[in-house]
């Protein structure tokens, strides 16, 4: 008998708040976490980015631990997980951690490579805090990591290798990444505008997100989410630019549909990747059109959070879950006028709408893509 897999707990730590409810309130009020920053560490000129307030972070962390051993990213991850670890984890509980660069800021001003730079060490510190019993499974697969971790957890539980899983995803705003995106001419000089005709790049962000995934149906309440299909297929085109035909994304979504047993016409909402770079958004529009989904209400959350890298797939999934729970489509912030060659249905205002099935997609450097289909129970 095929196991059913549910997400029953969620939490996020972002510039828009340290719990889901506060984040949703800000989204309803169209308040973005992206601000103009003046910090010569990152840039000679002021720049737009979404950063978590350090004092607020430390204050929140101080309420759950007095330890000074944790890096900033570790604190963010622990804060994300803390309220949702309600079971006693055992040998059948998987722990998955998604990040692209982990404690990369620890490399600054160091002559030797610090132990904290190793991603398994980061994961072990988090695991020890919560007394997780199994070896952490770390996923580091560019910007799809957050949603790929959800797909991986679901696959492992479905295969009876585990019964449940805690998944945490996160990345920090770093000089390392900021400088790199700057080199790639990928940063916008204004708040980002996914799918818009005047879009000219992304804003960097930071966040952590955590979910609890289980095969235990008794823990699933009405309004919880079932994971019903996934796919994570490479474009095989270029290591830093997406396929012009959206090949990998199309195949990832098709693979998810095949598994889910539902049709494209049944999808009520798409939480897309929408980084606001010229190429990414164009590729997505082509992909969704190829799949006959050009009329499905679609948004990118990057207008609220910037691009949170390894956190983005999971953070945006959590927001998608709230959308489904509330039957509410959230605005794709930053969008004014369509600027992609194939038409897509960008959500222009917060509005009510029945949502039973939704699709989350992500794409990243290396030609990777991931798609997961969710069903509200």
């Amino acid at each position: 008998m095929q196991r059913e897999i549910f997400i029953t707990e969620t939490n996020i730590i972002t510039p828009l708040g340290f719990d889901v409810a506060t984040n949703i309130q800000n989204i309803e009020n169209k308040i973005s976490g992206i601000q103009l920053h003046h910090d010569k560490k990152f840039s000679e000129n002021p720049f737009f980015g979404a950063m978590i307030n350090g004092e607020e972070l430390d204050a929140a962390f101080g309420k759950i631990s007095s330890s000074s051993e944790f890096t900033r990213l570790e604190k963010m991850m622990i804060l994300a997980l803390h309220p949702i670890v309600k079971t006693v984890p055992d040998q059948n509980t998987a722990f998955l951690l998604s990040t692209t660069k982990g404690n990369i800021t620890e490399l600054e001003n160091k002559s030797e490579l610090p132990e904290s730079a190793y991603l398994q060490n980061l994961a072990k510190k988090i695991a020890d805090f919560f007394n997780f019993k199994t070896e952490p499974i770390v996923i580091s697969n560019a910007c799809v990591s957050g949603i790929l971790a959800v797909a991986t957890a679901k696959r492992l539980i479905e295969a009876n290798l585990y019964d449940d899983a805690y998944v945490v995803a996160g990345d920090e705003f770093s000089e390392f990444v900021f400088s790199g995106f700057s080199l790639f001419q990928a940063l916008s000089d204004k708040p980002c505008k996914p799918y818009d005709s005047s879009r000219n790049g992304l804003n960097l962000g930071e966040a952590t997100a955590a979910v609890y995934i289980t095969s235990d149906k008794s823990l699933a309440k009405k309004g919880d989410i079932k994971i019903i299909g996934d796919g994570a297929i490479n474009d095989a085109n270029h290591i830093s630019g997406p396929s012009r035909t959206g090949e990998g994304l199309v195949r990832s979504i098709e693979s998810a549909f095949k598994e889910s047993g539902i049709q494209a016409s049944q999808i009520d909402y798409i939480s897309a990747h929408g980084t606001a770079t010229i190429y990414n958004d164009e590729m997505e529009a082509i992909a969704f059109n190829r799949l006959g989904m050009k009329n499905v209400p679609l948004n990118s959350m990057k207008g609220f959070y910037g691009h949170t890298l390894g956190a983005s797939g999971l953070l945006e999934t959590v927001i998608g879950i709230e959308s489904a729970r509330k039957n509410r489509l959230f605005i794709s912030l930053g969008f004014d006028e369509i600027g992609v060659s194939e038409s897509v249905n960008i959500i222009a205002e917060n509005q009510d709408s029945d949502i039973k099935y939704f699709l989350k997609t992500a794409s990243g450097f290396g030609g990777c893509n991931t798609a997961v289909i969710f069903e509200k129970i």
């Binding site: 692209t100 660069k101 398994q120 996923i139 490479n234 290591i239 830093s240």
Partner: protein
């Protein structure tokens, strides 16, 4: 899930200036830096893929192993649905450290986009996908050491759920001059079952 059986049908190892395929040494050189060793290997196997020289060391290592293991194992008539399941300990730290160095001095500040793009471990899978046109499942994991149980289990589930027809599993670890790749091709037909025990045996051989 269907009752599909899975088998290790080929394996390649590269470490300490030596390359072996299915347990037999196919190339070795005197002690060289990885950069020089990888170049010699490229020439030895007549790889004819100039993009190789743009890759960082982690990608070169993984790419070399993939070329050697896949030779003769690819279908030419149709697409190959070979998933890539890779893992290592150091992620892309070898390149990360180089890149960090290039941004640390504001007076000598000329970081390279060609270096930055390799500061993600999964790029090495992207390179293999591009060369072979593998439009397939990819995932890059980080473990402390080669995790034969996980690699066997995850490889098997990809095949048993129909997400792939074959899996290229690899432990592809590199940090400066310490490198090791152990790569296996897992298929639905063969002789040696894809189990943690068998993977461990081949890894240690």
């Amino acid at each position: 899930m269907e009752e599909i059986k899975t088998y290790i049908t080929a394996y390649c190892k590269i470490e300490k200036n030596q390359i072996s395929l299915d347990g037999e040494t196919v190339f070795h050189s005197e002690e060289l830096s990885f950069q020089d060793f990888s170049k010699k290997s490229y020439q030895q196997f007549e790889l004819n893929y100039p993009k190789f020289f743009k890759m960082d060391n982690l990608s070169k290592l993984a790419f070399l192993a993939s070329e050697i293991i896949l030779k003769g194992n690819l279908e030419s008539e149709r697409e190959n649905n070979i998933a890539l399941l890779f893992a290592n300990k150091s992620s892309s730290l070898d390149t990360d450290v180089k890149y960090q160095k290039s941004i640390s001095d504001k007076n000598e500040y000329f970081p390279s986009p060609g270096v930055f793009v390799y500061t993600l471990a999964n790029i090495c899978m992207g390179e293999i996908s591009i060369k072979n046109q593998f439009k397939s499942e990819n995932c890059f994991f980080i473990f402390d050491a080669f995790n034969s149980q996980f690699m066997a289990d995850y490889g098997n589930l990809l095949l048993k759920t129909g997400k792939a027809e074959k899996v290229l599993c690899a432990w592809t670890e590199l940090y400066q001059e310490e490198y090791q790749v152990f790569m296996c091709l897992v298929s639905k037909e063969g002789n040696l079952e894809n189990t943690a025990e068998n993977l461990e045996k081949l890894y240690k051989r």
